[in-house]
Amino acid sequence: MYGNTQITDKDIMMNVLGNYKLAIEMLSHAAVESANESIRREYINILNSAFEDQKSVWNSVNQRGWYPVKPAQPQDIQEARNKFRQPVGMM
C-alpha cells in the first residue's frame, strides 16, 4: 500500500517524538482544567515522566543527527538584548 517505501528508524523516532509533544500539551491542559485534586496530581506526575521520556527520545534522535540544532547568531542575541534593555532610572 505504500509501494516500496520503507519506514526507517528515523521516521519511527520522529513519529514518537511528535506523539510526546502532543501528550505533553494534552496533559498540561488536562491538569489546568482539573477541579479534582487527585486527578490533577496524577496528570502532573504523568506530565513529569512524559517530559523525561520526550528528552530520551530527543537525545536519541539528536545523537543520530536527525534533529540538528544550531546556535543563534550573535548579532540576533545583541538585538534582543537591546530590545529588552531597561532605560536607566525608568521603571
Binding site: D9, I12, N19, N36, I39, D53, S56
Partner: protein, 60 residues
C-alpha cells in the same frame, strides 16, 4: 470524588492517547533496526501502559 464533565472529556482523550502510544511503541519496537532504539521503544511502551493503568483508576 465525582468527575466533572470537562475532566471526563480530558480523561477519555488522554486514555486513548496512552493506549494508542502503547500499541504504536510496541509495534515500533519490532520494526526498529537499531537495537538501542528497539529497547527504547519497548521501555517507553511499558511506561505508557503504566500511565494508562494509573489513569484508568480514576474512572472507577
Amino acid at each position: 470524588m465525582q468527575l466533572t464533565s470537562k475532566e471526563l472529556l480530558y480523561l477519555d482523550d488522554i486514555l486513548s492517547l496512552q493506549q494508542n502510544m502503547t500499541k504504536t511503541l510496541n509495534d515500533y519496537a519490532t520494526r526498529c533496526q537499531d537495537p538501542q532504539l528497539k529497547a527504547l521503544c519497548q521501555n517507553l511502551a511499558n511506561r505508557c501502559q503504566n500511565n494508562f493503568n494509573s489513569l484508568l483508576k480514576h474512572l472507577s
